[in-house]
């Protein structure tokens, strides 16, 4: 009746129970507050069922902030474990729990922090920047959002019911196969990503169509703001890369549920094929995240340098070059798997080549600042923090692109430091910059500047403290994902732990900044164009007019897809059928109604 689900799924060790209780407690508090303030109707009408791209964008960003808190707690647990695990002290996490924590950290930060943050900013700004009233398919936009929420809910549900994958964030077989991971952890991983991935794919189509067909008449391709160009590039990558992820995870779930042998070690399966396929998606994925961040900086640098962007055409060409090249570099994630020198050399050279268009962008931003009258507001600070850290990360990336060097550094903390360098210093700083920059447009009041500056300095100092030691540790030979650490690594791990604490202080200032700014919103009205921006989004009112159009179907699809996902994880087949048929029924019923939007 209930598949693999029974009472033992709710019983955990002491630390896991704390996590379990805090999820339940959090849900109870939110539900209680909403009921106390009688806010359910308002929330339902104004946000949950809204089809307005800006409302959906706000919800995406709220989701990403909640998940950022969760992912950050995971990070702090790992840093604490490695910092206190010395001598007789074996730390506070069990090995299996530690493996779940680093897996959840990676999955959450990429899929449920960076992706929703990106889609949130795109929803808020792209329609305004191209002069469109909304996106091409407002209902699909709502549905995409709810499918992403379902993925996030499933990940958090794994804290309460059952367990999460303990395989690393890409769930490589044979470890992720049934033989070695018999629990439901990997199934939580698979179905959270499958459902959220469908949402991402639909969003990609939605924005590609919006940008292609809904620009103002006078906005030719070469008049589009660079942010729109980079989103265009990122959406192309979404459309072509995400089906590979869906297919690969689909094959893995066939292995696990139906006894297939795509990636097993016997009966003709090949685990190496999984690694190859997952990275054919995984490499474009990192460019999906970084391209919009590049676009945000291309908006911010001219505004705060009070000059035109230097080299518009080369920015466009560089963006498109990255789109092409990002599909031809994926082997650099597994140089050590044993391919010959020809394969490794080809992909190594391609990887070095993709640094060229990125370098073009960096020089364009520098030349934009050159002889400009630079205003050091928070968005510009985030940019300059990005520039210094990202160039360092780029340099270590080119180093890792040399197969010979990679053989030494593969799977070490050097690599961990490199990609955090790109994703925190690049993607996250970019999205923070965009958030501060466009916040006044969407909400009509300014964010507190002083607290924003404090947050920035905590982040950048904390980042350096937390990740430069990891570069050194990597060169010393420390590998990643270690539960027990040799004593000679310990001092630098303590430094990294201090860095994580400084980052936590930065996050505290960001929360404080939001609270204080909302508190003082009457004193700090934004006006239509607080930063003297030149693009179309600044030509409308702040906040811009919202579209009252709404539909309950998006939430319905989300709930039914969530039931389907949960049922697939626990193999409750009747519920899976109900969920899947329900989703199709809602969509078919909707197609028979007449809508102004589709």
């Amino acid at each position: 009746m209930l598949g693999k689900l029974d009472l033992s799924a709710f019983i955990h060790g002491p630390i896991e129970t704390v996590a379990q209780l805090s999820v339940v407690f959090g849900v109870v508090v939110v539900v209680g507050l909403l009921s106390y303030y009688k806010a359910w109707g308002w929330l339902w009408r104004e946000y949950l069922t809204s089809l307005d791209a800006k409302k959906i964008g706000i919800m995406y960003i709220a989701l990403s902030f909640v998940m950022l808190a969760r992912g950050a707690v995971d990070a702090f647990m790992m840093r604490t474990q490695q910092a206190i695990e010395v001598g007789a002290n074996s730390g506070f996490l069990s090995p299996d729990h530690y493996a779940q924590v680093f897996t959840a950290h990676g999955v959450i930060m990429i899929f449920f922090v960076a992706m929703p943050f990106m889609f949130g900013l795109i929803n808020l700004i792209v329609p305004l920047q191209i002069g469109a009233k909304d996106v091409a398919y407002p209902f699909l936009n709502s549905m995409s959002f709810w499918l992403t929420v379902v993925g996030a809910v499933l990940i958090n549900l794994s804290l309460v019911v059952g367990e999460f994958a303990a395989t690393g964030w890409l769930a490589y077989p044979p470890l992720s196969e049934l033989q070695f991971s018999p629990g439901v952890g990997v199934d939580y991983y698979i179905w959270a990503l499958q459902i959220a991935g469908v949402g991402t794919l639909i969003s990609g189509i939605n924005f590609l169509v919006t940008i292609t067909t809904m620009r103002l008449k006078d906005m030719s391709w070469m008049k589009m703001p660079i942010f729109v160009w980079t989103v265009f590039g990122a959406m192309i990558l979404v459309i072509f890369a995400f089906p590979i992820l869906t297919g690969t995870l689909g094959l893995l779930s066939l292995d696990r549920i139906a006894g297939f042998h795509f990636f097993t070690t016997d009966l003709g399966g090949s685990a190496m094929m999984y690694v190859n396929l997952i990275w054919a998606w995984g490499h474009p994925e990192v460019y999906i995240l970084i391209l919009p961040a590049f676009g945000i900086f291309s908006e911010i640098v001219p505004t705060f340098s009070q000059k035109r962007l230097f080299g518009y055409t080369s920015m466009v060409v560089a963006t498109l070059a990255i789109v092409f090249l990002s599909f031809i570099v994926w082997v650099h994630h597994f140089f050590t798997m044993g391919a010959g020198a020809d394969v490794n050399a080809f992909f190594g050279i391609m990887t070095m080549a993709i640094a060229i268009p990125t370098g073009v962008k960096v020089f364009n931003w520098l030349f934009t600042m050159f002889r400009g009258r630079i205003l050091f507001k928070t968005p510009m600070l985030w940019f300059m923090g990005f520039l210094t850290t990202f160039v360092l990360g780029g340099a270590t990336g080119v180093l890792l692109a040399v197969p010979g060097a990679d053989f030494q550094l593969h799977n070490s903390l050097f690599l961990v430091a490199h990609f955090h360098n790109m994703i925190i210093g690049g993607v996250l700083f970019g999205f923070f910059a965009g958030f501060v920059y466009w916040f006044p447009k969407i909400f009509g009041f300014m964010l507190n500047e002083r607290l924003g500056v404090y947050a920035f300095w905590c982040w950048i100092v904390g980042f350096v403290l937390a990740f430069i030691p990891l570069y050194i540790l990597g060169l010393m030979g420390m590998t990643r994902r270690l539960y027990e650490v040799s004593p000679q690594f310990h001092p630098l791990l303590v430094v990294a732990g201090v860095g994580a604490a400084v980052i936590a202080l930065g996050m505290f200032f960001q929360v404080l900044q939001l609270v204080v700014s909302i508190w003082q919103r009457k004193e700090n009205p934004a006006g239509d164009n607080p930063w003297n921006g030149t693009h179309l989004e600044w030509q409308t009112s702040s906040p811009p007019p919202f579209d009252p159009e709404r539909s309950n179907d998006g939430v319905m699809v989300g709930i039914l897809a969530g039931l389907f996902g949960f049922a697939m994880i626990w193999q409750i087949w009747w519920l899976a059928v109900i969920g899947l048929v329900g989703v199709l029924a809602v969509l078919i019923a909707r197609s028979f109604q007449h809508h102004e939007h589709s």
Partner: protein, 113 residues
């Protein structure tokens, strides 16, 4: 007429799918005799390509002289060639280097980054 296109597409998709399944059942039911084992794979590939063309023309409107559609299709082809071709190249290469070397010493590293 779009409706006409969709109906033609729907019916021919169904037909192609049923032919593929039908032949496969026939193949299994006849104990791998008719259609012969060696013939099945080419037959299925041809049917799959037919299916692809039907869907592209009838559902994705690739019959018109619209430049944008053909550009998109061209890029899709490029990606398919890169991913499928690249995968074949990489996997063949891996297999060869693993076959050449001493089996006792080669454990394929499957740690991601």
């Amino acid at each position: 007429m779009t409706i006409k296109n969709y109906i033609i597409g729907f019916v021919s998709s169904l037909a192609i799918t049923s032919v593929a399944f039908g032949l496969m059942f026939k193949h299994l039911a006849s104990g791998h005799v008719w259609p012969a084992h060696d013939a099945m794979v080419p037959i299925l590939v041809v049917l799959a390509l037919l299916q692809l063309i039907v869907q592209l023309v009838c559902f994705l409107h690739l019959n018109k002289a619209e430049v944008r559609n053909w550009l998109t299709f061209g890029f899709a082809l490029f990606i398919v060639v890169v991913v499928v071709g690249g995968t074949l190249w990489i996997m063949n290469n891996l297999q060869q280097s693993h076959a050449e070397s001493d089996h006792d010493h080669v454990t394929p590293q499957t740690l991601d980054d």
